[in-house]
Structures are given as structure tokens and as C-alpha cells.
């Protein structure tokens, strides 16, 4: 007979709250009148995320490897990563709640009469909220999952809603749908690689738990381990958009509705890096000498290509996409470092980068003309003169991406490069510094464009943001600013939380 498994509900509660809220959201879709649905959904989402945050605070000192039998490990770093996801999601949900960004009816053919009617009736696709919550739940599970199957399930749980959400833009819907298709096909492709790799890791270790894989070191044949590491890495490197698995990023970032891009750019990175860190720090740590050179090369390629190509972009969303590629490269140096410092630096970097990214995409959502958002950089010319506040905030965020001192971006890079340096990986530090120097020039070019060039006639205006966007952008910006000026606040926390348990 089977004995009933016991679950640590307290430790799992943050995730359970989010999933439960998503299910409630589905019920709301089914049974609630159209008029109050949006408000109810937003309330549920924010409430659930806040509640999850409170739960995370309550369990901050607990840890266990058996919270969900052996599938999930709740430890310090896991809690920090989950909290990062939840905080960033809280900020992102306010951007998402500005429904002007989403299609009135996804099933209507773009340009059809049906769409026009739906727009006229001010329909809303409120299913966005449950989908969003499912994605958040998956992202919370991903960095704490400790066996390959839970990892795979979590990966799909947060990916599927994102594929869908990417296709729901209100304007330029063809592009949005195309983004969804590309993201979906390539994402599924990458998951297939992940799964194939997982099979070989199982073949190597005889078990699918990360601890088992690390324990099998030396006793089994390494060919399977290497195949496994390579293919599992491909799946994860795709999610963090590392070269050469990055090519979806600019297209999808550009096509998806801007708030979803913001959410995706910030939170996916946290979740995927969380998982990557756990897998490499726990599962593959014994095989360090085998994967470190490979990941180092990928990291260098990623940071250099991302920085260099970001230069050439004429679309602001694509530019940030390449910037996110470059940042993936910088973050990979934290993986390569394979030390407590590296972990702490990565945790800090993820939080700081996430905040900055959210704010930047929030700002992009504000710059519009009569047909919607304007992402063509040539039309941002002179923006700073017309709206000095928005211009200065964006300039600040760009400087933070560039890693100019006094910004959180600098502290993050500093911490992560110093960790990489201490682990003896000089190549990565040198290329990182060079890549940031290249990038810095061109972020500054954009700033000059915004501030010092005279506005052209067909230029754009900045809409007055709604209270929700205002809160979300200002919270993200202020937090990013504070972490730049007084990084100790976050850095100390990150250092305290930088432990994985086996």
C-alpha cells in the first residue's frame, strides 16, 4: 500500500496562495459580471501577491529540503528569489492593469468588424490576470525546484502563459501574434532540448534529483553527464537569452504588449537565473571543470554581442532587448564564479536589474502618438525638452543599464565581476568591463538624442500616466536609485540570503 506523502504547507504557502488566486481568477471570469471583473481581478492579483510576500517574510528563517517530499527545497536563496519575483510581479501587475495595452478581444481578427465592436464596447480580456498569476506561480517554483521533472513542469507553467500573453497586444496585433508564435515555437524547441538533456542526466545518475546527480560524480560515465549538462543548459540559456540562443529576444520584446515585455524581461530572468544558479551550484558543482570554460565562453559572447548590437538598434524596445542579452552575459559571470559571493552578487543584480527594467518599459509605455506607443528611437528625439521629468528618469535608467557609478547597475556589475575575479576568471572580467564600456557610450548616445537634439515635427507626446503606472514606475525608479546610492541595504540582505542547501 502507499503511504500518503506529507507536504510542508507553510513552506509551500507562498506558491499555493498564488496558484489558488489564479484559480479564483478563473472562477471570477466564469461567474462575475463584466463590469466589475477587471477591478476584482486586479484586487485578487495584488492581494495574492501581497499575501505571498507576507508568507515569505514569515518563513524567511526556515529551510527544508522536504517541503514537497523531495521536489522542492526551500532555503535562504530560494526565498530571496521568490520574494524578488513577487515584488517585481507586484510592480508589473500595475503596469498590466492599464488595460489600454491589451486587445479588447483576442479571438477577433485584427481589423475586423468584430474587433471594432469589441473596442467600442470597451471589452477587456481580463483572463490576463489569471494567466499572469499562473506565470508568477511557475516562476516562484522554478528556482526552488530540485528535481528535473519539477523543473520541467515549472518551466512550462511559467512559459505557456507568457506565450499567450505575448500575443495579446492592443495595437499592431499582427506583430504581437507573430511574437507569440515565434516565442512559442522556439520556446517549445528549447524545452525539447531541456528534456532530452534531462533524460541523459537521469541516465547518468539513475535519479532525477539534483542532489543525486551531484552524488553520482565519479561513479558513472561522464559522457552522459556532459550531454545532459549541455542540453539542459541550452533550455535554460534560451530562457535567459544567452548567445547563440538569444535570437527570439528582440522580436518577442518588440512584438509583445509593453507591460508583458516588462514582466517577461524582469521576472523570467530572475526565475531562469535562479534555476540556473541552483542547478549549477548544486547539481553540477562537482563537474565544475567541465562546464566552466563553456559557460565562460558563452557569457563572453553574450555580453559582447548584446552590448555591440544594442548600439545599432533604432527601436527602443529592441535596444532594451539587446541590453537584456548583454545583462544575461554579465549575470552568467555570477554562475561561473560558483561561490557564495557570486551567488550574493547575482541575487543583488537580479533584483536591481529587474527594477530598472520594469521602470524602463513602463516609461516606454508612456511615450505615444495618436496611434499608440512609439518605439522608433528617431521619434524620441527631443523628448527630454518636452517632458523633462520622463526624459530624466529614462536617462537615469539608461545610465543604470550602462553601469555608471552611483547607479544600482554599477554596484551589481561591480559585485558580480569581483566575485568572478575572485574565482580566478579574469577573461570574463576583462570582457565584461570592455563590454560595459562599449555599451556606456551608446546609452549615452540615446540620452543625447533625448536631451540635446531639437524635437522634430512629427514627434511624440508623453501621456499623463494613470495612477497605477505612476506608482509602478516611481516605485521601481526610486528603489533602483536607492539601491545605487545605498547598496548596502540590499547587498547585505543578499549576502545573508546567499545560501543553497542540498
Amino acid at each position: 500500500m502507499l503511504t500518503a506523502p506529507s507536504l510542508g504547507y507553510l513552506l509551500l504557502s507562498p506558491m499555493i496562495i498564488v496558484f489558488a488566486a489564479a484559480v479564483i481568477g478563473v472562477l471570477v471570469e466564469a461567474f462575475m459580471g463584466k463590469t466589475h471583473r477587471a477591478a476584482a481581478q486586479l484586487t485578487i492579483s495584488i492581494g495574492a501577491l501581497l499575501l505571498a510576500l507576507v508568507q515569505l517574510w514569515r518563513i524567511r528563517d526556515l529551510s527544508s529540503t522536504t517541503a514537497a517530499v523531495n521536489s522542492v527545497t526551500i532555503d535562504k536563496a530560494g526565498i530571496f528569489l521568490q520574494a524578488t519575483v513577487v515584488i517585481l510581479a507586484l510592480i508589473a501587475v500595475l503596469l498590466i492593469a492599464d488595460q489600454e495595452n491589451f486587445t479588447a478581444q483576442a479571438s477577433a481578427v485584427p481589423g475586423s468588424n468584430e474587433e471594432a465592436v469589441a473596442l467600442l464596447q470597451k471589452n477587456q480580456q481580463t483572463e490576463i490576470f489569471p494567466l499572469f498569476l499562473f506565470a508568477v506561480g511557475g516562476m516562484m517554483l522554478f528556482p526552488v525546484a530540485t528535481d528535473l521533472i519539477t523543473l520541467f513542469v515549472a518551466l512550462e507553467v511559467f512559459s505557456l502563459p507568457l506565450y499567450l500573453l505575448a500575443g495579446l497586444s492592443r495595437r499592431r496585433r499582427l506583430l504581437s501574434q507573430e511574437a507569440a508564435l515565434k516565442y512559442f515555437l522556439l520556446g517549445a524547441y528549447a524545452s525539447a532540448f531541456f528534456l532530452f538533456g534531462a533524460a541523459f542526466l537521469y541516465g547518468y545518475a539513475g535519479t532525477i534529483s539534483l542532489v543525486g546527480i551531484s552524488a553520482a560524480a565519479g561513479s558513472a560515465n561522464e559522457v552522459f553527464l556532459l550531454i545532459g549538462i549541455i542540453f539542459v543548459s541550452i533550455g535554460l540559456l534560451f530562457k535567459i537569452s544567452a548567445v547563440p540562443f538569444h535570437s527570439w529576444t528582440p522580436d518577442v520584446y518588440q512584438g509583445a504588449p509593453t507591460p508583458i515585455t516588462a514582466f517577461m524581461a524582469a521576472c523570467t530572468k530572475v526565475a531562469a537565473f535562479g534555476a540556473l544558479l541552483r542547478i549549477f551550484y548544486i547539481g553540477f558543482a562537482e563537474a565544475q571543470t567541465m562546464w566552466q570554460p563553456i559557460i565562460t565562453v558563452i557569457a563572453i559572447l553574450t555580453m559582447v554581442l548584446g552590448s555591440v548590437v544594442a548600439i545599432a538598434q533604432r527601436d527602443v524596445k529592441r535596444m532594451l532587448a539587446y541590453s537584456s542579452i548583454a545583462h544575461a552575459g554579465f549575470l552568467l559571470s555570477g554562475v561561473v564564479a560558483l561561490s557564495k559571493d557570486g551567488l550574493a552578487a547575482s541575487l543583488f543584480y537580479l533584483m536591481a536589474y529587474g527594477l530598472t527594467t520594469l521602470a524602463a518599459f513602463g516609461i516606454i509605455g508612456l511615450v505615444r502618438d495618436s496611434t499608440g506607443e512609439v518605439t522608433d528611437l528617431n521619434r524620441w528625439v527631443g523628448l527630454g525638452k518636452k517632458s523633462p521629468l520622463v526624459g530624466s528618469v529614462f536617462a537615469f535608467l539608461l545610465l543604470s543599464f550602462a553601469g555608471i557609478p552611483l547607479t544600482s547597475g554599477f554596484i551589481g556589475k561591480f559585485a558580480i565581476f569581483s566575485a568572478a575575479y575572485q574565482s580566478g576568471n579574469i577573461a570574463i572580467v576583462v570582457s565584461g568591463v570592455l563590454a560595459s564600456a562599449i555599451a556606456a557610450f551608446f546609452y549615452i548616445r540615446v540620452i543625447i538624442m533625448i536631451f540635446f537634439t531639437d524635437p522634430v515635427n512629427d514627434s511624440v507626446s508623453v501621456i499623463i500616466p494613470s495612477v497605477k503606472s505612476k506608482i509602478s514606475i516611481s516605485v521601481a525608479t526610486v528603489a533602483s536609485m536607492v539601491f545605487g546610492l545605498a547598496p548596502s541595504l540590499l547587498l547585505t540582505t543578499a549576502t545573508n540570503f546567499a545560501t543553497f542547501i542540498k
Partner: protein, 629 residues
């Protein structure tokens, strides 16, 4: 090392005052300038007190620190937000707060008609705070904060009258040049960290032996780049002339006396790096030498009085940078010249402002002439500054410049010869163009072409100028007497560490220096005596034309940096597509149809992306295939 609780006030007071002025808005219009001035004066008072307290202590106990809070703490790496007041920084503190206060006073009158005077004072206070932070920070990171702060204040003040497009352009130029410098500084910080695991001055100084010469050279070159940006040195010099668009007190305070000397401070502060990195030090010498001649040549052709003075600033800072490149003994002389220059250049700028005040904001010297008799006090003070800058004994400039020339000549060999001639030639040209400025402005026929006679400025403007010109008379001798400054700075830069040989007796050098000055003055007098036209002559030599165009520095920048930069950008545009598509095309489907090719370059195909992933995976598999073979 002693600790002190007072250092923070030096920065906090002006910062606080600046915030109040900005936040209070129009309500502060009536008292804002008074408060700004009082705050500046109190920082000067604190500076004086600290100076005498420091002097009364024994040499090894003179430096004081104050830790404010722990800024960054990652693993073994710690950066505190700490302040350090030592013999070097006190010089700067006194210069900044002293000259700063005088300029505050001057501005009360100069800006009295400006509706935004309160905002102006807020920026001035912000500048004082940042500049003090720059010189008081005890690590490169803290210095960087101040460095950015002064950049911001400078940018705000250059563009203070930003309704005029030319002024906004000037602000932009300054912004770009300074960012280039900033990138240099941040790279220097990163490399230092990578090398030493520390970015504080004391920590790096202690472990400088452990670093390789390559690393030190790299740090040194990056620091030099930073200094070039901030101090308007070749090849980042072009912004300074345009920065004269700002109000004259700003030109005097920021773009003559204090901020532009931050580069000299940076190099002097980093003396331990440069002393161990001969290549970087040589570059410093080259940059300094080139700039001092460059600035002087531009100065000869400028008709705009402020731009002529700006060119002279560039050239004088070139002297200082050159001096810092001369090794331990040079640092002290660089700082000496920096201090005396602070006095006489500020005094002359304020004098120029006074002239402009009387001439309805006319800046073209060709439309001046004979002003001396209408504005006797301005004439007197400007004249004292003039004598100081060209180096007539016993005015301040003589002592400081003479020392630099002497040290340069004493380098010996070809190097000494080149450096010595450059400094002497510079001195001659300086004498020439400064004489030209004085003659065109204060002597000769009256060329302003309107009825209103120039009038002397109000006392509130004249008093600061007067005090500054006292400084330009006396400061040189005071600092020189008994090598006072050299001994004072000894613990910081160790100027007497290396025994320097004397190739020529000092008196001979002095005579040579005075002789070239006399030559320069005579040529100018011969050329500009008598009637002058109010228009610049059209038919001039190639050299004059080149100098008028700032030796084509903008064209040069455009041709060397901007155009290639743009084309690099354009080419880089294609890199990603080349990577994805270059693979695709590389196999060699040579299509004759160019249009077809263009279409191919524009990718966006999912399948190409998938192929890239497969190829990436293939590369990884190939790697492990090789490894496990």
C-alpha cells in the same frame, strides 16, 4: 590617523542650502542669494579653522578622516563613505571655498537683474558641495561621486541661459567630453579593483608594489583620460571655449579656478600610480605639453575676451598637467601653479565680467578700446592679474611658472630640451596674447560705437576682484618662500624622494623666462599699438586663420571621432544579422540579384533562429566530443 566629526559639515552645509533653495521656489527669491553666500562663507571659515588646526599638529598627525557610513560591502570588499582631509585636500578646500565665497559675493551684484538668481545660487552651492566631496573623498569611488556632481553642476550652469540654442549646444559639448572622461574614470576604478581589490587611496598606495606595470599603466592611462575630460586637455579640450556661454562668475569659478583643475588633483592624488607607470607618466607629459601650446596658440586669435581667457586657462592647466608628469617634485609645483592660477585667473575673469557689465554685455575686444580711463579699478586689478599670469617678478605667476620651467629643463637630455622649450615658448606666447588682450581692451582708440560711456561696476563686484588680485600679487611668494608648499605636501606626494639634479642655476632659468616674456610683450605692443579697427582683419595668415578656428579642433573631432564612430555604428548594425545570416549566406549561395540579397539580410525567420540554436548546440556537442575523445 586622527578622526574628526567636522568634515561632513563642509559638504552637508552647501548641499543642504542648495536643496532648500531649489525646493523653496520663488519664496526664497528675496533671501536666497544671501543664504547661499553665508553658507559658502561658513564653509570657508571651517576650512580656515581646519587649516590652522592642521598646521598646529605635528606632521604625521595632520591628516584627519571621518567615516560616514559603510557604503558597499561585498564579501571581503568594503567601501566606506569616508572623508579624508590631508595636506593636499586642505589646499583645495581653501581655494574652493575662498574663491567660491568671493564669487558668491560678486554674483549678488552681477546677477541682480536675473529673475532666476535664486536658482543660480542653488547651483553654485551644489557645485561647492560636489567639489568639496571630490577633494575630500578617501577613495576613487567617493571621488567619483563628487566628480559626477561637479559635472552636473557645470552642465546646469553652462546651460543656465538655455533659452539660447547656442548655449544648449555648448552644454551638450561639455556633457559629451565629460562623459568620455567619466568612462575613463570608471574603467580606472574597475581596473584598480581588479588589481588591488581595493579602491581607497591609502589601501592602493600600500599595495602598489604588488601590481604589475601593465596594470598600473592601464590605470594611469584611464585616469589621464578622465583628467583630460574634466580639465579640458588635448584631445578633449574643445568644450571649454564653448562653456564660456555660461554666466561670467561661473566661468571664473568653475571653468578657471576650481573644477577644471580637478584633473590635476586626480593625477596628483594618484601620484603612486604614475610614479610606478613610466609610460602613463610620459603620456601625461605629452598631453600637458601639447595642450599648453595648443591653448596658447588659440588664445592669440580670439577676439572674444572670455574665449581668450578660456584658451589661456587651457594652456595654464597644460602647464600643471605637464608638471605632474615630471614626477615627485613636479606635483608640488603643479599644485602651486594651480593655486596661484586660481587667484589670478579668477580675478581676470571677474574683471572681464566687470568690463562686460560696463559695456552692455559686449564680449568682442575689437569693440572695446581705451576702457582703462573709464574703469580705473577694473583696469588696475586686471593689470595685476595680467602681470601675474605672464610671469613678471614678483607677481604670483612668476614663482609658480618659473619652477615648472626649471623642473622641465632639469629633466635633462632631449626630453628636458623639448619640455623646456615648450614651456618657454608657451610663456612667450602667453605674454603675447595676454598683452594683446590688455591693449585691445584698456588702451587705444575707443571703438564701441555708441554714445554711452562705460561705467565702473558697483562695489559689491569690485571688492571680490580686489581681494583676488591681492592674492595674485602675494600668493606666489608666500607659497614659494622657503619651499613652503613643497614641504607642506611632502607627506602626500613625497616631492623630495628623488633627488633632482640641477643642470642650470635657477637664476639663469629665471632670466630666460623673463626674457621670453619680454619678447612676447614687445611683439604684442608693436603689433597692436596705435589705431585698431573694430573689425577683425580679413586677410590674415594661414596660422591666424587656423587659430581662429580653434586649430580646427572641431573639424578634427568630427573627422577623427564622429565620422568613424558613425560608420562603425553603421557597420555594427549588421553584425547580428551577419552572425545569423552570415552563417546562412556564408556557404556561398552567391546570388547575383542584389535586391534578393538585401531581402535575405533582413531576417526575422523563426527557422533561421532555430538553425542558429542547432548550430550552437552542434558547437557545444563538438566541444564535448573533442573533450571526451
Amino acid at each position: 590617523m586622527q578622526t574628526s566629526e567636522n568634515l561632513l559639515w563642509l559638504i552637508a552645509l552647501p548641499l543642504f542650502s542648495s536643496a532648500i533653495l531649489l525646493l523653496a521656489g520663488k519664496r526664497a527669491n528675496s533671501w536666497g542669494h544671501i543664504m547661499g553666500t553665508i553658507v559658502s562663507a561658513s564653509t570657508f571659515t571651517i576650512g580656515i579653522i581646519e587649516f590652522f588646526a592642521m598646521q598646529s599638529r605635528s606632521e604625521e598627525n595632520r591628516a584627519v578622516t571621518q567615516k560616514i557610513f559603510t557604503w558597499i560591502s561585498v564579501g571581503s570588499f568594503n567601501v566606506d563613505a569616508s572623508l579624508l582631509l590631508d595636506q593636499l585636500s586642505i589646499c583645495f578646500v581653501l581655494l574652493i571655498t575662498g574663491v567660491g565665497t568671493l564669487i558668491h559675493v560678486y554674483s549678488i551684484a552681477y546677477m541682480s537683474h536675473d529673475l532666476d538668481r535664486r536658482r543660480f545660487f542653488a547651483y553654485l552651492n551644489l557645485f561647492i558641495a560636489s567639489m568639496l566631496l571630490l577633494v575630500l573623498g578617501d577613495s576613487y569611488l567617493n571621488l567619483y561621486v563628487g566628480w559626477e556632481g561637479v559635472g552636473l553642476a557645470s552642465y546646469l550652469l553652462i546651460g543656465f541661459w538655455n533659452e539660447k540654442p547656442a548655449y544648449a549646444t555648448a552644454a551638450k559639448k561639455a556633457f559629451v567630453a565629460n562623459r568620455v572622461g567619466d568612462v575613463g574614470l570608471s574603467l580606472a576604478i574597475m581596473i584598480s579593483f581588479a588589481t588591488f581589490g581595493d579602491v581607497s587611496f591609502s589601501g592602493m598606495k600600500d599595495s602598489v608594489d604588488q601590481a604589475s606595470s601593465t596594470q598600473l599603466t592601464a590605470i594611469g592611462l584611464m585616469l589621464l583620460l578622465a583628467a583630460c575630460g574634466k580639465s579640458a586637455q588635448f584631445p578633449l579640450q574643445s568644450w571649454l571655449g564653448d562653456a564660456m556661454a555660461g554666466p561670467t562668475p561661473v566661468s571664473a569659478l568653475i571653468h578657471a579656478a576650481t573644477m577644471v583643475t580637478a584633473g590635476v588633483y586626480l593625477i596628483t592624488r594618484s601620484n603612486f600610480v604614475f610614479d610606478a607607470a613610466p609610460i602613463a607618466q610620459l603620456m601625461v607629459l605629452i598631453v600637458g605639453g601639447v595642450t599648453l601650446l595648443f591653448g596658447a596658440i588659440i588664445g592669440m586669435a580670439k577676439d572674444d575676451i572670455k574665449k581668450a581667457l578660456a584658451a589661456s586657462t587651457m594652456s595654464q592647466i597644460g602647464y600643471m598637467i605637464l608638471a605632474t608628469g615630471l614626477g615627485p617634485i613636479g606635483y608640488a609645483f603643479a599644485i602651486m601653479h594651480l593655486l596661484t592660477h586660481g587667484f589670478f585667473k579668477a580675478s581676470m575673469f571677474l574683471g572681464a565680467g566687470s568690463v562686460m557689465h560696463g559695456m552692455k554685455d559686449e564680449v568682442n575686444m575689437r569693440k572695446y578700446g581705451g576702457i582703462g580711463k573709464f574703469m580705473p579699478i577694473t583696469f588696475l586689478t586686471f593689470g595685476l592679474g595680467y602681470l601675474a599670469i605672464i610671469g613678471v617678478p614678483p607677481f604670483a605667476g612668476f614663482y609658480s611658472k618659473d619652477k615648472i620651467i626649471e623642473t622641465a629643463l632639469n629633466e635633462g637630455g632631449i626630453k628636458g630640451l623639448i619640455l623646456g622649450s615648450a614651456t618657454l615658448l608657451g610663456a612667450m606666447i602667453t605674454a603675447f596674447y595676454m598683452t594683446r588682450v590688455v591693449i585691445l581692451t584698456f588702451f587705444g582708440n575707443e571703438r564701441w560705437g555708441h554714445k554711452d560711456e562705460p561705467h565702473e561696476s558697483p562695489a559689491l563686484m569690485l571688492v571680490p576682484i580686489g581681494l583676488l588680485s591681492v592674492g595674485s600679487v602675494a600668493s606666489g611668494y608666500l607659497l614659494y618662500k622657503g619651499d613652503w608648499l613643497v614641504h607642506w605636501l611632502e607627506p602626500v606626494v613625497n616631492p623630495l624622494k628623488v633627488h633632482h639634479k640641477e643642470l642650470l642655476p635657477p637664476i639663469v632659468v629665471s632670466i630666460m623666462a623673463v626674457a621670453v616674456v619680454l619678447i612676447g610683450v614687445s611683439i604684442a605692443v608693436l603689433k597692436y599699438r596705435g589705431e585698431q579697427s573694430d573689425k577683425a582683419p580679413e586677410r590674415v595668415s594661414v596660422f591666424t586663420r587656423a587659430a581662429r578656428k580653434d586649430l580646427f579642433q572641431d573639424n578634427f573631432n568630427e573627422a577623427t571621432f564622429m565620422r568613424p564612430g558613425q560608420s562603425v555604428v553603421k557597420n555594427l548594425l549588421n553584425i547580428d544579422y551577419l552572425l545569423i545570416d552570415g552563417l546562412v549566406r556564408g556557404v556561398g549561395s552567391v546570388s547575383l540579384n542584389a535586391g534578393n540579397k538585401l531581402r535575405v539580410i533582413q531576417n526575422g525567420y523563426v527557422r533561421s533562429y532555430a538553425l542558429l540554436m542547432v548550430v550552437g548546440a552542434l558547437a557545444l556537442i563538438a566541444t564535448i566530443w573533442v573533450v571526451t575523445a
